[in-house]
């Protein structure tokens, strides 16, 4: 059999990659970066770097960056809640997860955005659990019915209980890590078991340009020491917080991510790190950061290509939309993003379900996007040679009546060669009309109802849930809260 060509998108020439990386090194060494965290500054100083404590500015040498790159794992294994299903993050492996940390939910009945309740968030996790083309879950929706101060740990608390998949999450406060780490450890049965089989990926976002907040930097250090993979989320906005050209933004992006990678490696040699991001093409007319812009996707695909040249696992916020409703714009931006991300071989693709500049989750969009992910995943499997010869034997005895429907060859391969979507409409007009002539959002809303009815909550064992509850209540109590919403199980 002839080996299968894995389709692959490459936007940058190797010469261009070399120059972008070389310029990133120069920026790190000459301009340096701002690190608002004393522990990280101390680590950099101890590594022999020039650090100015008063301005919190550190200059990184080319040699240190290269040394840290050499100790960063090329691939990471991440496991589901039961610890049985392993996922490789690295190479050209592609995994989709819902876009993270939406502050609102699109209410299907009113078609307006509102804050999510605990029950909405539970439904979001249950739907994610049921969708086969989302390998990972994410804490992609924030409960509006608990105070903001505990919203980071609270969403993890819900996600771990209602969904079996590995989880992409992150802290909103330095103190958040403690209870979140305790919960993850409780699920795995201890910190060392958690380090051995990571269950979560923590996102860490900088404040552009070339600036690392105390929160982000502490999260990087904490995760590195706990063996939890960190996703480096640089987020330049072209012409606003990063250079306006795509290549210019890539130079900044690479510099920022390499700096964080260095901090992780100095905190713990061999710490798992994922080269990610959420940069955007800044819209100069509206002052907004469109995630569905083709230039945003070009930056994403470009930095992923650079990360691969450095042998690093990759992440991007793609397959999401800036639309406010589940309309054509939502479908086209999500579809283009998912396909380009998959073709770019990005390992963790965060986006499904997301609308309105990464701020709004929609359960209906999540089930629609699941089918987009299915198509993108099918595409990158490529065109396989299944038989040798390919087909000449199938034409033996060919007559005018020959058809392939009842040929055993059809039955042997059709389900491997072709995917069958669930809510994408392929009915005849009459049958579609018989079923009520429903639009995609309506069919998706019905699918959400069906999944909630027929896919029972994939609950964590009761004793572990009790453990999580005491960790969550201790966290809440420290922040002056005695009561949390009832989870209804």
């Amino acid at each position: 059999m002839i080996s299968t060509l894995k389709p692959n998108l490459k936007l940058l020439s190797s010469e261009l990659i070399q120059q972008i990386v070389a310029e990133a090194y120069i920026v790190l060494e000459k301009q340096g970066v701002f690190v608002e965290n004393t522990e990280a500054l101390a680590l950099l100083r101890d590594a022999g770097m020039q650090v100015d404590s008063s301005s919190q500015r550190a200059h990184l040498t080319n040699a240190l960056v290269q040394k840290c790159l050499s100790t960063t794992p090329e691939t990471i294994s991440i496991f589901d809640r039961t610890g049985t299903q392993e996922y490789i993050v690295g190479g050209d492996e592609v995994h989709f997860d819902p876009g993270s940390a939406a502050v609102t939910i699109l209410d299907h009945k009113t078609q307006t955005q509102r804050k999510a309740t605990t029950q909405d968030v539970i439904q979001f996790f249950r739907i994610t659990d049921s969708l086969p083309y989302l390998d990972f879950q994410s804490t992609g929706l924030i409960s509006g019915d608990v105070p903001d101060i505990i919203s980071d740990s609270y969403r993890l608390y819900l996600g771990l209980q209602f969904c079996n998949k590995p989880i992409v999450t992150g802290t909103f406060r330095v103190e958040g890590f403690k209870s979140m780490f305790e919960m993850l450890s409780a699920v795995r049965g201890g910190p060392s078991a958690l380090a051995e089989k990571p269950l979560a990926i923590f996102d860490a976002c900088p404040s552009p340009a070339l600036k690392w907040s105390n929160l982000t930097t502490q999260s990087l250090i904490d995760c590195a020491r706990a063996g939890i993979p960190s996703e480096l989320i640089s987020m330049g906005m072209t012409g606003a917080t990063s250079p306006v050209t795509i290549t210019g933004t890539l130079v900044q992006h690479v510099a920022e991510n390499l700096c964080r990678l260095v901090i992780c490696q100095l905190a713990e040699k061999g710490a798992p790190v994922i080269f990610g991001g959420s940069p955007s093409s800044f819209d100069m007319r509206k002052g907004t950061t469109p995630m569905g812009a083709i230039e945003t996707m070009m930056i994403d695909s470009g930095y992923a290509q650079i990360a691969k040249s450095l042998n690093l696992p990759t992440h991007a916020y793609m397959s999401l939309s800036d639309s406010k409703l589940n309309d054509s714009q939502a479908g086209l931006e999500t579809g283009i993003g998912a396909v380009l991300a998959a073709l770019s071989g990005i390992n963790v693709i965060s986006g499904p379900g997301m609308l309105d500049f990464e701020s709004c989750q929609s359960l209906e969009k999540l089930v629609i996007d699941n089918e987009i992910c299915a198509m993108a995943l099918r595409l990158v499997k490529g065109v396989e040679q299944r038989d040798d010869p390919i087909a000449t034997h199938l034409f033996e005895g060919f007559t005018a009546d020959t058809q392939f429907l009842s040929n055993p060859h059809t039955r042997q391969w059709y389900r491997q060669e072709h995917i069958f979507p669930d809510i994408i409409d392929r009915d005849t007009y009459d049958y579609w009309a018989t079923l009520g002539g429903k639009s995609m959002p309506t069919r998706a809303a019905e699918k959400v109802e069906e999944l909630l009815k027929n896919h029972p909550p994939n609950l964590l064992e009761q004793n572990v849930r009790e453990n999580l509850k005491s960790i969550m209540y201790a966290d809440a109590k420290e922040n002056g809260l005695d009561v949390l919403p009832d989870l209804g199980y």
Binding site: S406, P408, R411, T428, Y431
Partner: protein, 214 residues
């Protein structure tokens, strides 16, 4: 092998789409001199019914459906001549004349309907593709058909469906046969407009529509 074991084997040969087994078991039943009506009613029919259920549930798609239908037909080709030899008439849902209309050589859809009607107990006379309107009418009269099924793939050839019904009316045969139309450009509205009794948009609904008509 008990009778029940034989029925189970037959049933599975149809569900699995195993033509070699489906035919061999039919021959075995003949050799064992088992009541062939019972062989059909207790073995083959439950098999094809299960296939229909699996289609309805979304477990089976067209390849499984058609393969099972062809297995059914292959087994019937063994059983029916034997039954005729001893003057037993196999139970039939009705006699159907089917074909793709004149000027149209696209017959995959018609073949699906033909296979499934046959597998579901209809006595099907398949006239093939590019069938003249007169041939539909003549065969239906000669063979005392209950139902005429006319397929068309093209918007140009579908007009022949209307013409066929006009001809039947002119020859005062319209009330003698039920007419069912289908094909890619055909829809329920068209079927109503031209005065067809039945319409089906796919092969499985064609079986149901035919049963409802007869």
């Amino acid at each position: 092998m008990t009778k029940n074991e034989l029925w189970e084997k037959i049933k599975h040969s149809i569900i699995d789409g195993n033509k070699v087994d489906a035919v061999a078991l039919a021959q075995e039943a003949v050799d064992l001199k088992v009541d062939l009506t019972e062989v059909i009613e207790s073995g083959y029919v439950p098999g094809i019914q299960k296939v229909g259920d699996m289609w309805e549930n979304g477990e089976y798609f067209l390849p499984e459906l058609i393969t099972s239908a062809e297995c059914m037909k292959a087994a019937m080709d063994i059983l029916q001549p034997e039954m005729e030899k001893i003057h037993i008439k196999a139970h039939t849902q009705g006699r159907v004349i089917i074909g793709t209309i004149t000027g149209d050589i696209h017959d995959i859809g018609k073949n699906l309907v033909s296979s499934l009607l046959s597998a579901n107990g209809f006595d099907v006379i398949d006239l093939g593709a590019d069938v003249k309107l007169e041939d539909f009418i003549q065969t239906a009269q000669d063979r005392e058909a209950d139902l005429i099924c006319v397929s068309a793939l093209l918007t140009t050839t579908m007009l022949g469906q209307r013409r066929l019904i006009e001809l039947l009316r002119e020859q005062e045969l319209y009330d003698r046969f039920k007419i069912m139309v289908g094909g890619a450009p055909v829809n329920r509205q068209w079927a109503q407009d031209i005065g067809a009794h039945g319409y089906a948009e796919n092969a499985m609904t064609a079986v149901k529509a035919a049963k409802d008509l007869l």
